[in-house]
Amino acid sequence: MTTKLTNNQIAWRAAQDIHDGAYVNLGIGFPEKVAQYQPRGREAIFHTENGILNFGEAPPAGQEDWDLINAGKRAVTLKPGASFFHHADSFAMVRGGHLDVAILGAYEVAENGDLANWSTGPKGIPAVGGAMDLVHGAKRVAVITDHVTKDGKPKLLKRCSLPLTGVGCVTRVYTSLAVVDIEGGRFVLKEKLPTLSLDELQAVTGAELLVAGPVADLIVPEL
């Protein structure tokens, strides 16, 4: 019985909502997995903020071209119809509302749509990259994350405690237990694992989950 989704399964679920022809930015790390699970017959164009549209998977080891990398500085390949552009154009695509979806990781998400995903506090070297830009402008800003931290603490909260990446920016959260929309400053439950009761889900969520309509079963294939 499924007690929680794996990262691959969360990525699969997020990929099902990307429509044919969508322009998509996937954050560095875990969100990059979403690209593997594009439903057959749909073509999404992936944007990497260092200056490529329509890049594909990594080349075989030894065939890397280090001028052809993604924002995570990993080697990629090109698909037919790819293009290159400089950084000001790249972030015009981001902030200018031209991307359909941005899918990002999170340390914390708040019910008002605030996101914290760039800094765990004042220790060490601060580094932001494109995180604060990517949360603005895409038509949908979705988060994929485990429902709780490694210590079992909720990541979906009333308000973020860590330094913010953006204010009121997240529209949907795909977690290891549920799919939750952010509407009018509230978490609205859309899907949950069928093995989990609403009370059990609420117990590991740091803010009230509103049930405003039917809650579908979150069913994901074994991956």
């Binding site: 990497t48 903020e49 260092n50 200056g51 490529i52 890397e64 071209d65 280090w66 001028d67 052809l68 990398i69 500085k73 290159f84 552009f85 400089h86 950084h87 000001a88 790249s90 972030f91 981001v94 902030r95 605030d114 800094s119 070297i125 601060p126 580094a127 932001v128 990259g129 494109g130 995180a131 604060m132 830009d133 603005h136 402008g137 330094p163 913010l164 990446t165 953006g166 204010v167």
Partner: protein
């Protein structure tokens, strides 16, 4: 008109103590390794230039290129978006010891500040960083019901840039994602110094294919077989190696 110069030493001769220098590249892609190393050579021979302010997306990786420049002790301040890498030990140690200053800027804001510097726009408003720690102390204004942060242009004395093909007028093409910040930095600097894999006579590059027009470029130097930071780091290279 011929903007080509004979060698790397001549190309970097105009950089003086205390200058702001933009260095192109995102990670290793588009990083002008040979120009950076020529600047290190000059410092090791003469003690100058020092107290530089460097603008780059990152803070270097390993012990070559920008990391080597920082390690040599020539850099007073870094303006960047992501000072982490696979091997960021050079910057990390100096930063934690309080020996180098950091101005952290969101990546898109960094690009737009540089573009604005080159375009004569002293300030602009962006949604990026609104409501976050990086917006502290900056003016905020509301437009059509949304809040935005005011950011200022960023300009430099010199830009060190990597291109694929340059002509003698300074028209440039770039290679793949090595374009990144390079065209913007040419615009925002008083002197854009470009290393190109080949320099061709004016007229060889189709005007339709010029990415950076020569008006933004002051010097070009040919580096026929440029090194890649990633390859150097995989070989554990250190610049300027043991003497």
């Amino acid at each position: 008109m011929d903007k080509s110069v004979a060698d790397l030493a001549t190309a970097v001769a105009g950089i003086e103590d205390g200058m702001t220098v933009m260095i192109g590249g995102f990670g290793g892609a588009g990083a002008p390794i040979e120009l950076i190393h020529a600047l290190i050579d000059r410092y090791r021979a003469s003690g100058h230039p020092k107290d530089l302010t460097i603008v780059n997306n990152n803070a270097g990786n390993g012990h070559v290129g920008l990391a080597a420049l920082i390690e040599t002790g020539m850099v007073r301040k870094l303006i960047c978006s992501f000072p982490r890498s696979a091997d960021p030990v050079v910057f990390t140690d100096l930063y934690l010891a309080g020996k180098i200053e950091l101005e952290l800027v969101p990546q898109g804001t960094l690009a737009e500040r540089i573009r604005a510097g080159g375009a004569g726009i002293p300030a602009f408003y962006t949604p990026s960083s609104y409501g976050t720690d990086l917006a502290k102390g900056k003016p905020v204004a509301e437009f059509d019901g949304r809040s935005y942060v005011q950011e200022r242009w960023l300009k430099a004395d010199v830009a060190l840039v990597k291109a694929e093909t340059a002509d003698t007028h300074g028209n440039l093409t770039f290679r793949a994602a090595a374009r990144n910040f390079n065209p913007l930095m040419c615009m925002a600097s008083k002197e854009a110094v470009v290393q190109a894999t080949r320099i061709v006579p004016a007229g060889v590059i189709d005007p339709e294919n010029v990415v950076t027009p020569g008006i933004f470029v002051q010097k070009v130097v040919e580096v026929a077989h440029p090194q890649q930071e990633e390859d150097l780091n995989r070989a554990n290279a250190v610049y300027p190696g043991a003497v």
